[in-house]
Structure formats: structure tokens, C-alpha cells
């Protein structure tokens, strides 16, 4: 699914990276726990979150996330947006709350980051 399509579905505003909306999104994860994002997301996933601090951008950078969607109209500060722009991570914001935003995307077929669907990015020790 293209990021541009997700923007339309969630009626989202682009905070930075309008030139990167043709990126492919393979899966999504809704979380305010960056530790869980680091542990369970796959690369090229979209993160939906209500957190707006700099660690969200860092987490996206380390995990190779494709973009970040802030829910419930949350907006990060200018420094956070600038950092995302430098890292070429598109930032969007939607007025929909987390549950509804995730539901819209899931209903349209965007997969989650469940371990059952595919092994996690990180090497399994089993």
C-alpha cells in the first residue's frame, strides 16, 4: 500500500516528506511503547503513535520504519520534524484516534507486525 493512499484513508496532514509519499508500506504497528516497536516491527512498516518526542524518530531510524503517523491530531515540535526530514522519514498526523486509525488500515488489508505472520526482523534463537 502506498503512503499516499494511507494519507487519503486517514485524512492525514503531511508534516514533512510530501515528496516521499510514493513509498510502499508493507505493514503497520500501533504503539506508544518504543521498546515494543524496536522489538516487534518489521522493516518498511508504518508506525502509528501518540508519542511525539525525538525518540520516536530515532526508533523509526533504527528500525527502518517507512513513516510515522501521529494519531489524535498530535504534532511534534519543529526540532523533531526537522530531524525526521534529515533522515527522510515522512511524518503525518491524523485526527482519528489510535484504535480507529489502525482499524481503517487493517480493514483495508494492511498487515500487522504479528510474529505469527512472518518471523521478526531480528534473528530467532529458536
Amino acid at each position: 500500500m502506498k503512503l499516499a493512499q494511507i494519507r487519503i484513508m486517514l485524512d492525514a496532514e503531511v508534516l514533512c516528506g510530501v515528496e516521499w509519499l510514493d513509498k510502499d508500506v508493507r505493514s503497520a504497528c500501533g504503539s506508544d511503547l518504543m521498546s515494543d516497536v524496536l522489538a516487534f516491527t518489521k522493516e518498511q512498516a508504518l508506525l502509528l503513535t501518540g508519542l511525539t518526542n525525538i525518540q520516536v524518530i530515532r526508533t523509526a531510524e533504527m528500525s527502518d520504519l517507512v513513516a510515522i503517523m501521529f494519531v489524535r491530531g498530535k504534532r511534534p515540535g519543529a526540532d523533531v520534524i526537522e530531524m525526521a526530514r534529515k533522515m527522510q522519514i515522512p511524518l503525518l498526523t491524523t485526527n482519528k484516534p489510535m484504535y480507529e486509525a489502525c482499524g481503517v488500515l487493517y480493514e483495508d488489508g494492511l498487515a500487522g507486525c504479528s510474529l505469527k505472520e512472518e518471523p521478526c526482523c531480528c534473528q530467532s534463537r529458536e
Binding site: D32, L33, M34, S35, D36, V37, L38, A39, E43, T49, L51, N53, I54, Q55, V56, R58, T59, E61, M62, S63, D64, C120, C121, C122, Q123, S124, R125
Partner: protein, 141 residues
């Protein structure tokens, strides 16, 4: 890539949340420039970032060192801090001593050490109470 490896070293300071992740980011960019496989870089970057955050959250100060060879990356994170009184407990998923203000930032869910174990090929932790903690990790390319 030179056979003797490339060494990167970073000083980490307690509670430096704005700078948190800068060292891991530099390591990641270096690995990208060296042409290491993206899925391997991702595992190294996640391990480094989790370790870096742990120092910033829990320790007083620390040093992160990355040695990048053609076949592997070695990460050593050595901190001065309170240490971990029960390492086996700290290795359990969900166990955390992080205070509320850290949890509000999205960390302190007790996933860091188990995630480092999962992302690395070799993982070693040594901790002395009231002295500090040393993590040694190897990820093969």
C-alpha cells in the same frame, strides 16, 4: 573494508535524552557506507540503540564502542552506574526498574535486554552493583 576493522567510540551521558541515539545513528550510517546488508545493519542499530538508551536512562555515564570488521560488528557498552542487582531478573521480558518519566517517553517496558539478545549472535552482560554494567555483543555480517 580494512581487515583490521574500523573503530568508533562515543561518550554517553546520563539523562541526555536529546542526544540519545546519536551514537547508534553514527554507527548505522558507517555500516551503510561500508555496504553491510540492510537486515544486518538493522539488528546492529537496534542493539546499539537499546544499549545506548539503557546507559542514558539508568547509568551516570558510559562509553559505547563499535568495532566493524568485514565479517562482524562488535559492540561494547561500558557504563558507570548503579549496576544491576539481579541480572537474570533484568533479562526477563517485561522486567524494568525505569521510573514513570522514562515510561512516558516510550521506554522502560522491560524489552531492551531481551531484544539485544535476540538481535545479536553473541551477547554477554557483566554487572557489579554500585560500579556499573558492561555489555559485549557480536553480530556476524
Amino acid at each position: 573494508m580494512p581487515e583490521q576493522g574500523i573503530e568508533l567510540e562515543f561518550a554517553l551521558e546520563s539523562a541526555d535524552f536529546n542526544g540519545a541515539g546519536e551514537a547508534s545513528s553514527r554507527i548505522k550510517r558507517t555500516l551503510q557506507q561500508l555496504g553491510v546488508r540492510p537486515d544486518i545493519i538493522r539488528r546492529i542499530a537496534i542493539s546499539a540503540y537499546e544499549a545506548e538508551m539503557n546507559v542514558i536512562i539508568h547509568a551516570y555515564r558510559g562509553v559505547m564502542r563499535a568495532e566493524i570488521y568485514s565479517d562482524r560488528t562488535e559492540l561494547v557498552v561500558d557504563d558507570e552506574g548503579p549496576g544491576i542487582s539481579d541480572v537474570s531478573l533484568a533479562m526477563q521480558v517485561g522486567y524494568s526498574t525505569a521510573p514513570d518519566h522514562i515510561r512516558e517517553m516510550g521506554f522502560g517496558a522491560g524489552m531492551g535486554l531481551p531484544n539485544m539478545v535476540r538481535c545479536t549472535d553473541k551477547f554477554d552482560i557483566k554487572s557489579v552493583k554500585d560500579v556499573g554494567t558492561k555489555l559485549s555483543m557480536i553480530i556476524y555480517h
